[in-house]
Amino acid sequence: MTTVENGVNVQALLDARNVLKDAPEAAQFTWRASSKWQHGVHSTTRIQQFFGLGAEQTHKTEAVFDADHPEVFAAEDNGITPIEYLLVGLASCLTAGVASVAQNRGIQLRSVESVVEGQHDIRGILGVDGDVRNGFNDIKVTFNIDADASKQEIEALVAQSQKRSAVFDALTNPTNVTVEVA
């Protein structure tokens, strides 16, 4: 196991798990994004601060995300569409999970690639047909993994990464959402 190096500090994660077992209040995080309308359907969202481990925390640098609609929607395409950000979240969350689980199980990864496809019927958001939902109908993730492991072990990595994924859970299970005007 000592020879496996996927770059994930699994010991720190396992230590955190032990500490937080008896300190559930420290495990409460708040993630924040601040968004500003630019023009048309273009907006810019910035992320730097979050709360966790009982204190305000700061990312090393501020991250800036532009969202817009593509030209086929008669927009300027200053950034990806909001729903594509969900694909970014899902792919990166599952990939992080694969790396962490592999490190914990002593599996050396050589490459982990995935393609995420979200099927979307836009008649919903356009109000063409009230029976069509606004969001994705179906999401498919296809992993291509090269690692020192059997096919079954790789499948188990991917299954375990879904089991422990925040974004997979957020997409597959309902979440209460409150939207207010300040």
Binding site: Q162, D169, P174
Partner: protein
């Protein structure tokens, strides 16, 4: 010391099921004076808290208690509830267990030299106490059951006896452990269309390479794995019961079998919103997890008999339905009743000793509770993976009573 009118014994055993009776047997062997207090009758839960069609999951040849084993004509069959009750009653009689039936324990408190056990028939002072009141005293319902519209009848496995007791029409069975799959199958057969809500589950074929799958659990040594050898003990102790049923046909009752019967599978029951049940979209992954774990277990079995005749078999992967429903309108009349097969919890409301953790679980190390002289038997993976099975109690009870005897001897 104390009130001379209070009865004093070395040990009070709480519960006259197979676990309490096994404890009693080892106490008797060591001439430790004790009583077994039982709220109802011997084997009470088997009499009053099970549905009509239930049979034991373990084949008859595995039915053994200290000094007693199944001697009937059908070693590969599975006992009905009536037969289980007879088996346990016979054990109580043959081992001469000092059982006091109809004696409900309302409190156990520490004293300077042991415990004060308050029962519906008076107080007993015991230097040691063995909790053998079971792991399944009350059904565990997820909070979401509160949000189900009143027009839908809700039952737990404790209320459920047979399909005829439920209204006609659709049934939503929540949970795919042994209880959930068995009730889904019999409700579907009764003509009630069943939707089964499936979370993480344990898939097992009934037979593997010609033998009962529990023969393999026994022969491969998996069942004898000790609690201090298990990687993730918390997880092992929370594992749902495997998808098994005891039938004369030795049929497999996995999700593929239920799909073939016409049962409609949906994801984990996540929420009720505006009268609609919402299910998780993660069904594929709970199938994958269960299939992978089953494969690993079968690999273990194969390794245990390497070189022997017969080839490894692998059941087909769990079939993913073409489309799964993510929501169901509970007010539409499609679903007339919900069966919550979402597990059971022990009841320790009578235990006035601070030995429960934040989640209400008993703090114990292999049956030695974190209070000197207090012991527990019959919980999942108490000392071994087989702890909650009838044949699994013998080793656990012997070792726990060994420790108890040492405790008594050290404080004479």
């Amino acid at each position: 010391m104390g009130d001379p009118t209070i009865e004093r014994v070395a040990t009070v055993v709480i519960g006259a099921g197979h676990a309490g009776l096994a404890a009693s047997r080892f106490l008797t062997e060591r001439s430790i004076d004790h009583v077994v207090v039982e709220r109802g009758e011997v084997a009470n839960s088997w009499r009053r808290e099970r549905w009509d069609s239930l049979r034991l999951l373990t084949p008859n040849w595995l039915c053994r208690l200290p000094g007693q084993h199944y001697a009937g004509p059908d070693p590969d069959g599975y006992l009905t509830m009536g037969e289980v009750i007879d088996f346990i009653e016979r054990f109580a009689i043959l081992s001469g267990a000092p059982v006091r039936t109809g004696t409900n324990v309302s409190s156990v408190r520490r004293t300077d030299d042991g415990y004060r056990v308050t029962t519906s028939r008076g107080e007993i002072h015991a230097r040691t106490v063995v909790i053998a009141s079971g792991a399944c005293n009350r059904p565990a319902l997820p909070p979401v059951h509160d949000a189900v519209p009143a027009s839908v009848e809700q039952v737990t496995p404790f209320d459920y006896r047979a399909p005829e007791k439920l209204p006609d029409g659709g049934v939503l069975v929540v949970g795919a452990s042994a209880t959930g799959v068995q009730l889904a199958a019999e409700l579907q057969r009764s003509g009630r269309p069943v939707t089964l809500s499936v979370g993480e589950h344990v898939r097992l074929p009934r037979t593997y390479r010609g033998r009962d799958v529990l023969w393999w659990m026994d022969a491969s040594g998996v069942w004898d794995q000790r609690y201090d050898e298990v990687d993730d003990l918390v997880r092992a102790r929370r594992l749902p019961s495997p998808q098994l049923v005891g039938t004369p046909e030795r049929a497999t009752l996995d999700l593929n079998a239920l799909t073939a019967m016409g049962v409609n599978l949906v994801g984990r029951f996540a929420a009720v919103r505006d009268g609609r049940a919402l299910f998780s979209g993660g069904l594929r992954n709970v199938f994958a997890l269960a299939d992978l774990k089953m494969q690993r277990l079968l690999d273990t079995f194969d390794a245990a008999v390497e070189g022997e005749a017969g080839l490894p078999e692998r059941p087909a992967p769990t079939r993913v339905p073409e489309s799964t429903r993510l929501q169901l309108d509970l007010r539409s009349g499609e679903i007339r009743s919900i069966v919550w097969a979402t597990g059971f919890r022990p009841d320790y409301t009578w235990l006035d000793v601070p030995v429960l953790d934040a989640k209400g679980r008993l703090d114990h190390e292999g049956g030695l509770v974190a209070s000197p002289g207090l012991y527990v038997l019959g919980l999942p993976v108490l000392r071994r993976r087989k702890s909650t099975f009838i044949h699994g109690i013998e080793d656990d009870a012997r070792e726990v009573i060994d420790h108890l005897a040492g405790h008594l001897a050290s404080r004479q």
